[in-house]
Subunit: 400 residues, 2 copies
């Protein structure tokens, strides 16, 4: 049988990260490639107790079909916490539960984009989002960034010259993969530009609560007076990634379209784990739990930065994140990190080459992404040693 | 803010069933409207024990990101059981886990359909599938059915005259909403026609294991020698609907495209419940459990048919299902069941009018769907009494 696939999927390849993740069943590989939270971040005992309680007291509701918008007490708890802690959510906004932040991104694209429409995004950006746009027939177009995120002049240039721009996708806090946090003044410029050109902002904030240094910066959603921002976040990095529970806060009119699309995708998100999240939020101290994760990641990040400082040749630059899960490294100009990553995986260390995160699938990048949340301390020390050795060899071999 | 939504979602309304479901928080309404399994069908104690065991022995794996294709031991268990019991799955096929059968349907459409492409389907058909096609910009086109399902001549007519037909969506066993089971000879005709015209078959079989009378009919997938059939089913009606765990068996090349699309939708299905399904399948007697559900639904269906027989006026026809969840009733020709359903809900009985299930959203139907799995015995008796009274009044009022 000769299959004739849709145009949008015919040429879409699986995410390199997911593919790397699959190869990580090889236990001899030290992986800095995944975006996984540390298993130490899962409050296993509390979740086990809550699960037992749900099976005892509400089994019929926890195992039965539920409503697409999500478990009402969870929606309320999320909305209340966001409002109180981060100033997110106005009268015109609604919060719904989705199957991971990923689904929020995908639904936003489906709600706004016809095939061929453009989604502007930071260059580089999160591969899962880029592929969500592509799998809906939308076209991701990268906007140039500097150390403070998207460059307003570059954004305005794209807004002015690209046809059919429907969304700006942005991860302003601890950006994936670059780790950059966009300062408030820049966020306000981005907002003003999108307002001027009538383009919705899709603000993705999966890492916002994982700050271990510096000061919080207000989300773009917190100053969204015009109903311009669709805000996505999730419990993946603070409770459990495998349960696939995320949430979206956006104007009710936008949410209603996303709900219709979600109905057609999975009817609703696993209701048992929605109830579990609600009980954890209301019967346990989520903030104290998150404080523990911040401390853990701060320590692990410092360890990785120390190792990078002592092992990497001086020609390799790397960021000093104040939160999130990633360090972004850059080889000397002209070197191809995809080629380097292949060498490295033969030495049993996995990283994600920067080209993975480009809007142009054929692009070349000299950068690569390292994750410090998942590997053990021993793996960080040993893996960065290997990384340093390989980088030295690779640079020497390509200097000639 | 004036939002400009995508063409595919701009006019798509929420599923009437989901909306009715939301209104069912009114406990004074007797609902025959949902498609919910009976809460008695959930093996709560066994699931609670398994969940406690997973939290104790494999918490890190059960709460962490996992692979898009699904938990490998579950995929193997499903594939082995399907092969052994139903002859489903050839060398070229692969089985993956999806977030409910709904996601399998949606992914199949995304993999094959560009905007404007046609999906043929039984008329009437499952609203969740119709909306999955619409939300991807595909156009569902109904094919005329008789008491044995899709009429081959009508199917060939559409295959010959419609442009860009990519899929035939079919629920050949205990069809939703009509309850019809297509006989083997008819299934073979359908298969041969789709093969002749090079159109994929999307076979949806959520109710196949719920037969309480008559003999099993082989699935279309079981005689798919050509790699033409994408087969979707789920645990929703045999373990838990709220956990959102379904599966797809299709040629590996097709599955690989669906996996790329799934990655972009929810990364993977809740892994904890995948592990739970696997343990239930391998450590408990799933077949014995299903036998219990069949007996329960057989009894409830008989009760409803007895009540319908004694309460409904003779002008109202109704089916005698051998399995599944639904009875399909038809008012005298010319009457509008949507109008009747409104009257009925004022009398505190909810049914789903047949127009909901038409490919033409503006269509009118004299039929309506009744569910017998969810209401209690008392609700069936009382609800059908009210239904009978209303039908008599409605017919009398419209005879004049």
């Amino acid at each position: 049988m000769d299959y004739s696939f849709s145009d949008k999927l015919a040429n879409l390849r699986p995410s390199a990260i997911r593919e790397i993740f699959k190869s990580l069943t090889d236990p001899s590989i030290i992986s800095f490639a995944a975006g996984n939270p540390s298993p130490e971040s899962f409050p296993t005992e509390a979740l086990a107790d809550i699960a037992a309680d749900i099976f005892k007291t509400q089994p019929a509701a926890a195992l039965q079909y539920s409503i697409t918008e999500g478990y009402p007490p969870l929606r309320e708890a999320i909305a209340a916490r966001q409002k109180a802690k981060f100033g997110i959510g106005r009268d015109f906004d609604t919060t719904i539960v989705v199957s991971g932040g990923q689904q929020g991104i995908e639904l936003a694209c489906k709600a706004f984009c016809n095939e061929g429409d453009v989604v502007l995004c930071e260059e580089p950006s999160f591969i899962g989002a880029l592929n969500a746009f592509r799998s809906n027939g939308a076209v991701p177009v990268g906007v140039r960034c500097d150390g403070e995120g998207i460059i307003p002049a570059a954004l305005e240039d794209k807004l002015r010259t690209c046809e059919n721009v429907k969304l700006l996708y942005i991860i302003p806090t601890f950006q994936n993969p670059s780790g950059i946090t966009t300062p408030l003044s820049r966020r306000k410029e981005v907002y003003a530009l999108c307002k001027k050109y009538g383009v919705m902002i899709l603000e993705d904030n999966p890492y916002g609560e994982l700050r271990f240094a510096g000061e919080d910066v207000p989300t773009i959603k917190s100053f969204d007076e015009d109903g311009l921002v669709i805000y996505c976040s999730s419990f993946s990095k603070i409770l459990s990634a495998g349960m696939r529970v995320g949430y979206v806060t956006a104007p009710a009119e936008v949410v209603s379209k996303m709900v219709v699309a979600k109905q057609s995708e999975d009817v609703h998100t696993n209701i048992f784990f929605q109830m579990l999240c609600h009980k954890y939020m209301t019967e346990h101290d989520l903030d104290a739990h998150i404080a523990g994760i911040r401390a853990l990641y701060g320590r692990k990040c410092t360890l990785m930065l120390d190792c990078l400082g002592s092992c990497l040749p001086a020609e390799v630059a790397f960021t000093h994140p104040e939160g999130g899960l990633f360090v972004w490294c850059t080889l000397p100009s002209g070197l191809d990190s995809a080629d380097f990553a292949k060498l490295l995986v033969n030495r049993k260390v996995a990283v994600v080459p920067g080209a993975t995160f480009l809007s142009d699938e054929g692009g070349i990048s000299s950068s690569f992404r390292l994750n410090y949340s998942m590997p053990s301390d021993e793996e960080i020390v040993r893996g960065v040693e290997i990384l340093g050795d390989c980088a030295r060899e690779y640079i020497a071999a390509h200097r000639n």
